[in-house]
């Protein structure tokens, strides 16, 4: 069996998780600072 890691997929999940959190936090800050 060859040496293999799911590097690309794991990086993708890490980036998506981080990105989702950043977008969520940014949205929250935006809503708090400029409500309505």
């Amino acid at each position: 069996m060859a040496e293999y890691s799911y590097r690309r997929f794991r990086l993708l999940v890490l980036i998506l998780t981080l990105g989702t959190l950043l977008v969520g936090v940014a949205s929250l800050v935006y809503l708090l600072l400029w409500p309505g």
Partner: protein, 518 residues
């Protein structure tokens, strides 16, 4: 007075000490809280990062995890020869692995914070106690805040993973559908030229790295756009995304399939008729005619497998004896021609079975290509008709007796295959039939041909081939029936007779390739 001043001084010092202690505690609490809120969630990302390059030690561990059990990633034809797709098993194993790792890191970070606070308290004294209390309060608040944030990150990680599983599943279904639709639109039937069975669901592909045979490369639990062979080589999962560049094998008989199999539309043309009807010679001349028609128009014809060798053998036998050797009574392999003309590219499979197989039930069962064809070629031997034979001179009869078919066999060789096509469920009305009368040169020299306006008339007439009943059945059974007479001999320059070129052009036209001027 002095005592009063001293008491005031002590009070002020006490107040200042209390204020300083409060400021110190609040400051350290704030700093520790902030540190915890930053450092503790960071542990989750560090756990994710640490796992990125972790190599697969045991595939079964990935397949039998909680997610692998749900998706059934191990239940696959290629389980032993591919890594499972990340989103159908490993992502679940990774999720719990990261949770455990992050929890360990989280615990160690808290222990470090608490121990720093405890050390300060153990030092005792004003400063140590103040610093220790500040750190402890900060640790309590920070652990609560950092813990909540870490749980939030874990929840986002879980949702991202679930979303990815859903997207991968949908993408697999969409890609499979698109691939099937494009193949249908292009007229790709995926027929094996050796065993004549439909290659279903997909061809077996050889890994470019280790020659391992992958039986079902389609998008799914072992790969959506690509898959990884156990040897580490990356393979495409679809003809759409490059599978046609790999070596394809028939999953039923194991034969090697032509290059770009599944991408290039295939035309299946069975040629059937009785023993000695002239099928093999007709096919040989048909190939020459197709070559001439295509190359004259700037296209090219190439051969796959043993086709060139088989054609050479037929050509040599014809050159020596005047007719090819009798075809061996076994399920035939197709002669495979790759035709490129302008924007058209087609594989043409010409199936030439021994005449006996067309009127034996066992033989017919082996002719699996009959229901794969859009166009059929029925070869009728005019010499089999008693009326025609009687009109030949004794010298002609002597010359032609060796290549004369039996009358009864000639009729059976049409009726039984037609019945077999019905039994196989093919829709006759969607099939075109070329009714070919061979040995037209003998008919012309006997004067029989001149007595009939059309080939159809010649076939139906009692003084001709006397096959009116077969013509009526063919016209009622097939979508269209076209009549041809052919002289399957080449002229001095080696070019096939014009009658063969007409048949070749009609066959190609009926399969969507038009030759201008033909």
């Amino acid at each position: 007075m002095g005592e009063f001043i001293e008491a005031v001084g002590i009070f002020i010092a006490f107040v200042l000490a209390v204020v300083f202690a409060l400021v110190l505690v609040i400051g350290l609490t704030a700093l520790t809280t902030i540190a915890c809120v930053v450092v503790l969630p960071l542990q989750y990302f560090l756990a994710m990062e640490a796992r990125i390059d972790a190599e697969v030690d045991d595939i079964s561990e990935l397949e039998t995890g909680w997610l692998g059990g749900i998706t059934g990633v191990a239940r696959h034809d290629d389980q032993a020869r591919t890594f499972p797709h990340y989103f159908f098993g490993p992502v679940g194993t990774d999720f719990w692995g990261i949770i455990n790792d992050a929890a360990g890191r989280f615990g160690r970070a808290i222990d470090t914070g608490w121990s720093v606070g405890s050390d300060e308290l153990d030092d005792g004294g004003y400063i140590g106690t103040t610093v220790g209390v500040g750190i402890w309060i900060g640790m309590v608040l920070g652990t609560a805040g950092g813990g909540a944030l870490t749980i939030l990150i874990g929840a986002v990680h879980f949702l991202v993973s679930v979303l990815a599983i859903v997207i991968a599943t949908v993408a697999g279904v969409v890609l499979r559908g698109a691939d099937a639709m494009l193949r249908y639109a292009a007229g790709v039937r995926m027929t094996c030229p050796v065993c004549a069975q439909t290659v279903r669901p997909y061809a077996t592909y050889k890994c470019s790295g280790c020659d391992e045979r992958h039986r079902d490369i389609r998008p799914g639990r072992r790969g959506v756009v690509g898959r990884v062979c156990i040897c580490g080589a990356r393979l495409p999962t679809l003809l759409l995304v490059g599978a046609s560049r790999m070596t394809a094998l028939c999953p039923k008989c194991g034969a090697r399939l032509p290059p770009r199999f599944g991408k290039t539309p295939d035309i299946v043309i069975p040629v059937f008729g009785s023993v000695k009807a002239g099928k093999t010679q007709l096919i040989y001349m048909l190939v020459l005619a197709l070559q001439a028609l295509v190359t004259e128009r700037g296209g090219s014809v190439s051969f796959f497998g043993d086709t060139q060798g088989e054609l050479d053998r037929i050509g040599e036998t014809i050159a020596v004896t005047g007719s090819p050797s009798p075809t061996v009574a076994k399920p035939p392999e197709a002669l495979v021609l790759q035709i490129r003309l302008g924007s058209h590219e087609r594989y043409l499979y010409l199936f030439d079975a021994a005449g006996e197989l067309h009127y034996r039930d066992v033989g017919l069962d082996e002719l699996r290509y009959l229901d794969k064809a859009g166009t059929l070629v029925f070869v009728a031997d005019p010499l089999a008709a008693d009326g025609v034979w009687a009109r030949l001179s004794p010298d002609q009869q002597g010359d032609l007796a060796a290549i004369r078919s039996e009358r009864a066999e000639a009729e059976l060789s049409y009726e039984l295959p037609r019945e077999q096509i019905r039994r196989m469920g093919a829709k006759g009305r969607a099939i075109r039939l070329a009714f070919v009368v061979t040995k037209a040169d003998a008919l012309a020299s006997s004067g029989i041909r001149a007595e009939h306006d059309t080939v159809r008339h010649l076939v139906e007439d009692a003084k001709g081939l006397d096959m009116g009943n077969i013509v009526r059945d063919a016209v009622g059974s097939f979508g269209s029936v076209e009549f041809f007479e052919t002289t399957a001999v080449a002229d001095e320059s080696g070019s096939p007779d014009a009658t063969i070129e007409r048949l070749a052009a009609w066959l190609m036209r009926s399969e969507g390739i038009r030759f201008e001027g033909s």
